[in-house]
Every structure is written in C-alpha cells, then in structure tokens.
C-alpha cells in the first residue's frame, strides 16, 4: 500500500523531472570525471571505512550492523526513502540520524556527532547501495510545507532565501562557480572545497553561514523540515552517493 503510494508520487514527479539538473550536470568535466571513476572518487575511502565498520561490534549489546542487517548489500534501495518519518519520534529523520538511533536503541552505543567520519562512512556505505536508483521520499505533512516555507524564506544578514539562489538564479555564476539547482541526490558527498566528506546538514550549515544566518541545529525541526522538502523536491532523480562536487 505504502509502496504503491510512493510509486504514484514518483510517477507524478517524473513529469517535471526533465528540466531538473543534478549538481553533476553543472560540475566541471574534471569533477565529473572524478565521480565517474570509482578508483579516483575519494568518497570511496569513506565507503571502504564503512565496510569495515559495518561488521565491527560496538556498544553494550555487543552488536554490529551485520547482527541485524546482514550484508551491506541488503541496504539496496533504503536510501531512496530518506528522510523517512519516524513514528516513535514524530519527525522525519535522515539516514545519519537513523544510523545513530540504531546505535543508541539497538547497539546501546553512544551516538556519533553529526560530522563524525565514522557516521559519514556508514551513511556513504548505505547510500551507495542505492546508487542509480530514484529518490522516492514520502512528502509527509506538515513537514514538507514547513520545509517549503523555509526554502522560500529570506534569512541572515544578506537576507537571501534558498530559492533566490537555487531556483531564481540557478545556472548563473557566483564568483567562479555555477550555482546548482541544489538537489540533494548525492549525499554524503565529497566536496573539493571541504577536502573531505560531508552530509547534507553540513551543506545547509555552509549555506546558512554563507548568508550570515544562525544555522539551524542538526536535530531541530527546521532542519528536518528543510531536508524533507529538499528530498521531495529531488524525488525521481537518481542517487549518486558518494557524489563529487566542486
């Protein structure tokens, strides 16, 4: 039933999918080449780390990811549904948060910090299992509408909204780089600017600091709503995790 519902949503969204551009399409040929070659894509250093962590027991329960999930390939398709609504907590949660709840609830291990490399390694491993599959996130209300409102709301000293850059001015230039449409289809991703891996939250934080706004906290309702809206906005696009971006 839920799956059928999701398929209808995807079908509806595909109608408008033609003019959407992944950040990949707006990247330079060099950056695209890095993403195209798994041997040259530094994101796979994190995927490899994730493979090691996957079977490493941690916490008081003495469990590893393998204990419940088996091989990491069983995670194929999982990333297409995130952020997913979590009934217990009443908010949509990201894949990284899901991994942390697995740790605290089932492994009895402490949660990783949002920018911990181990968390990024695990989410990169899970994310890459769905590479090439289409995003199919449930547009849960009221979070989607709240996210859409935040996307269009001006913020910070520069008084800019997400939409002003990533919709109205997408394709134009900011300094030397092309402004992408801001689709979240490759996270966690390797960003050359960061010289490292980062989650979607890191990207949002960067944008918010960039317009000189106070960033939303990683576990806030605002972040959850904005991420859900971004995912729904990118529904039907193909997952590129781990993507390489400038």
């Amino acid at each position: 039933m839920i799956r059928g519902f999701a398929l209808v949503i995807v079908a509806l969204l595909l109608i408008g999918a033609g003019d959407r551009r992944s950040g990949y399409d707006d990247a330079s040929p060099d950056t695209r080449a890095m993403q195209d070659d798994d041997d040259a894509n530094p994101g796979f250093l994190w995927v490899k780390q994730g493979e090691n962590l996957w079977s490493e027991p941690d916490g008081k329960a003495g469990k590893s990811c393998v204990s419940c999930h088996g091989d990491a390939t069983s995670m194929r398709g999982v990333a297409t549904h995130y952020p997913a609504f979590d009934g217990k907590r009443g908010v949509p949660i990201t894949l990284e948060q899901r991994i942390n709840f697995c740790r605290t609830d089932h492994m009895e291990a402490p949660a990783f910090a949002w920018d911990d490399d181990r968390l990024l390694a695990l989410s990169a491993l899970v994310g890459t299992q769905s590479r090439g599959m289409m995003l199919a996130v449930e547009p849960r209300e009221p979070f989607r509408s709240e996210g859409a409102a935040l996307f269009n709301e001006r913020m910070g000293q520069l008084n800019l909204s997400c939409a002003q850059c990533h919709e109205e001015r997408a394709g134009q230039r900011l300094g030397g780089s092309r402004i992408p449409q801001g689709h979240a289809n490759g996270y966690p991703e390797y960003r050359l600017e960061w010289q490292g891996m980062g989650s979607l939250y890191r990207r949002l934080r960067n944008c918010m600091v960039g317009v000189r706004a106070e960033p939303f906290a990683p576990d806030s309702r605002e972040t959850a709503a904005l991420m859900l809206y971004l995912a729904v906005r990118a529904n039907g696009m193909r997952i590129e995790t781990p993507a390489v971006r400038p």
Partner: protein, 106 residues
C-alpha cells in the same frame, strides 16, 4: 593506519604498460594555514612515495605542498612476469605505510 585504495588490472600482458591508480586518505595539511586561535597548523603531507615491483623501484616520487587532501596518484608500470607491487609512503610525522598489490602477468 590510513585508508588506501589501489586499483591494478586483474591481468596484464608481459612487456605492456598498465595503469596503477592509488587513492590515499591523508589530510595533506600544507603548513600555510592557521587555526581559530591564530596558531600555525604544522605541515603534514605525504612527502615521499615509492613503488617497487618485486623489489625493483619503478617509481620514486617526492611530494610537496599544494597537493589536495586524499591524493590520487596514477602512473604506468611495465611488468615482464607476475609479481608483487609494493607501495610505500611516508608523511611528515614519520609514519610509513606499505600496501601490496598482486600483478598477474598472462
């Protein structure tokens, strides 16, 4: 232990050049930056990279700052017979690591 990804062809032809691709996870701190307290962050880069094939050096590279984090090295090697490729690199902290890859000549 830093993470290293090595890619060599599964099989290579005798006397024919093949490509070795190496991706090393390393911060490659240039030594030019300062932290939030204004203190210089000490340089920490991989400064030396050697590749040997059965003990014979096929590449000896000196690396300098201005190479991005997580360096990617790609070079050609010619092998006459099957053997072991050993990739050894040393960083500014004196840490040396060696990774092996089997070369299968057909």
């Amino acid at each position: 232990m830093v993470r290293v990804l090595i890619n060599v062809p599964k099989q290579v032809r005798s006397g024919e050049a093949f490509e070795v691709k190496v991706l090393i996870s390393h911060p490659m701190e240039s030594g030019q930056r300062r932290d939030s307290q204004g203190q210089a962050i000490p340089r920490d880069i991989i400064n030396h990279f050697v590749c040997t094939l059965d003990g014979e050096t096929v590449l000896d590279a000196a690396l300098f700052p201005a190479i991005a984090a997580n360096p990617f090295l790609s070079f050609s090697v010619v092998a006459e017979k099957s053997g072991t490729l050993a990739l050894t690199f040393t960083d500014d902290q004196g840490v040396t690591q060696t990774e092996m890859a089997a070369i299968n000549v057909v």
